[in-house]
Amino acid sequence: MRIIDFDKQAYKKQSVLKAIYSLSNIYSLKLEITDDRYCVFLESASIKENIISELKIAITTRVNDFELRYHIAAETKEVKLLLLAKALSSGGIYDDLADEIWK
């Protein structure tokens, strides 16, 4: 477990959430917000330093809609996995057709 801890004073809330959202696409994580701090709990302890720096870049450069993005990511996480699992297990139904029509 790796915990990344942010001071609310230092980072606007929106930026942190946005960055966290970005990370949530790659890592399994949990967020806790207190009065003065954001804590990100990452299940993987081996997170690379460049990801941390990515997080910091994200905090400083992203636009103001991360809360929404975070919401979408959180709500659709399970169905996304389900879709991928189904995609991996189902038969390729268009293979021949694609060859025929589009190649």
Binding site: Y21, S22, L23, N25, I26, N50, I51, E54, I57, A58, T61, L68, R69, H71, I72, A73, E75, T76, V79, K80, L82, L83, L84, K86, A87, L88, S90, G92, I93, Y94, D95, A98, D99, I101, W102, K103
Partner: protein, 486 residues
């Protein structure tokens, strides 16, 4: 006819479920008033800014068309039925279907020798030294063996250089050896030539094996000759004569041309297109110089900002649309690659815009030095002594090559679904990943999207094309014609 005792018909509301679940979708602002919302299937909806927030926060949406669109494009799903997920899963699978084939494009760099000295070329040598710059026969044998082991049933064997026709004997040997060893694949042959080397023997050979010719044409004479230098004489004259010669002998559709935009080219979008039209072409690939270190040996001629290229692209593209609107079919090929991703459920087989990246997954390069590279750009990097994407020697065998550290570094950074800056980008489905580019430009195969020229160029063109698609039915019809033309 008898009418049965009727059941009571129920109104439409009875079949509507007001609640819904979100499906994984992404969005961005496509212009100052609208959001582009793209679902997991790659289908999109354009809606006024604020729609996404209303959808996510379950604010009532009175626009019935929007609600129907959101369902039909797989952005949201009704609460009670999950059977719809199977259809979307099939869509996802279809888009990634090419992965089951693994590499289907196999590039053979037969020689680095060339009769041209183009200033944007990174690799060619004007030399008679066959020993050091031609692929060795034993290495070629290994490479053919590797190629034929690919799981793909359809293979393209592409000969590059240098100028591969300067090594015609080797080329002949490669084609004939491949055909004698092949048991179960359909193989297309392509020769990438500068178009200035041709004779009856070459023509006979191309006819016999149904070989396609791909050549280079940068635009009108003054521009072409400024970019592409022959030691003496005009490359333009030679290549136009060559194109005619090949066309007469092989058939009009057996020869195609590629252009590369130098700094000078950016000033002449219409002239370039006119040169293609005048020379009987019905398509063009508007292609920037990959701004790799080696192309920048002459920065004045070859360095420009992505933004400059984009301005050139749009000017050229608008001109192309005018030509089409006047009734002449003329296609821009890069747009067609993207439009195919947008308008059809299938993937394009263009290797430079895929996720996972085309490098290794769709293409392997067997270089004159006997080594296997992840992509064409990878072997160009090697000419700058950067061997990051050299997978190993042709004699190493499939398993060793594809599990090498170099290969793994490509794979690891080649899924835009899992790259920061791409994973939440609404147009990533229509785009790709390019670890080799990001390694070359940013020193990190993972890449940093906010400052990436790859990202800037592709996002800008994709958004532009979507706006064009929505703009008018006649443009939309042209786009359909482009992608359905063989």
């Amino acid at each position: 006819m008898e009418v049965v005792k009727r059941q009571k018909f129920k109104p439409k509301e009875h079949y509507n479920s007001p609640g819904y679940k979100l499906l994984p979708f992404k969005y961005l602002h496509i212009d100052s008033t609208n959001e582009l919302i793209v679902g997991a299937s790659g289908d999109y909806v354009i809606a006024p800014i604020g729609s996404v927030e209303a959808i996510v926060k379950r604010r009532p949406i009175s626009n019935e068309k929007l609600m129907r669109d959101l369902h039909a494009k797989h952005i949201i799903i009704d609460e009670y039925e999950s059977g719809g997920l199977d259809v979307i899963a099939n869509r996802i699978r279809t888009k990634k279907d090419h992965l089951l084939q693994l590499s289907s494009l196999h590039i053979f760099v037969l020689t680095l020798r060339c009769n041209h000295t183009c200033h944007y070329c990174q690799v060619s040598r004007v030399t008679q030294d066959k020993q050091s710059f031609d692929l060795k026969k034993t290495d070629l044998d290994h490479a053919i063996e590797l190629m034929l082991k690919s799981p793909s049933k359809f293979i393209t064997m592409e000969f590059q250089g240098g100028e591969p026709l300067l090594a015609f004997d080797l080329l002949k040997y490669a084609v004939e050896t491949t055909l004698s060893l092949n048991t179960d694949k359909r193989i297309n042959f392509v020769i990438c030539t500068n178009g200035t080397i041709y004779n009856e023997e070459i023509i006979k050979f191309c006819l016999k094996y149904d070989i396609l010719i791909s050549t280079s044409l940068d635009g009108p004479e003054f521009l072409h000759d400024s970019n592409r230098k022959l030691r003496k004489g005009s490359s333009y004259h030679d290549v136009i004569a060559g194109i005619q010669y090949f066309r007469n002998a092989l058939g009009k559709d057996r020869i195609s041309a590629l252009m590369t935009a130098s700094s000078l080219s950016l000033k002449y979008p219409q002239e370039i297109i006119n040169a293609y039209l005048e020379n009987g072409f019905h398509n063009i690939f508007l292609r920037p110089i990959s701004p790799y270190g080696f192309a920048l040996k002459s920065p004045k001629k070859n360095y420009y900002e992505t933004q400059q290229f984009l301005e050139f692209y749009e000017k050229a593209f608008e001109y192309i649309l005018q030509i089409n609107l006047k009734g002449t079919f003329f296609r821009e090929d890069f747009a067609s690659v993207i439009l195919k991703k947008i308008l059809t459920p299938f993937q394009s087989n263009y290797v430079d815009l895929q996720s996972p990246a085309g490098a290794i997954n769709s293409v392997l390069v067997y270089n004159y030095d006997g080594y296997v590279y992840a992509s064409d750009e990878s072997r160009m990097l090697a000419e700058q002594n950067d061997y990051s994407f050299r997978l190993g020697h042709v004699s190493d065998g499939y398993k060793k090559l594809l599990t090498s550290d170099e290969a793994l570094s490509v794979f690891k950074n080649s899924l835009n679904e899992a790259l920061n800056g791409c994973s939440d980008c609404a147009v990533s489905d229509f785009c790709g990943a390019d670890p080799v580019f990001h390694h070359a430009i940013q020193g990190d195969a993972y890449g940093h999207r906010p400052t990436s020229g790859f990202c800037e160029k592709n996002m800008s063109i994709i958004k532009y094309l979507i706006r064009k698609l929505e703009e008018s039915t006649s443009v939309r019809n042209i786009f359909y014609e482009w992608i359905s033309a063989k």
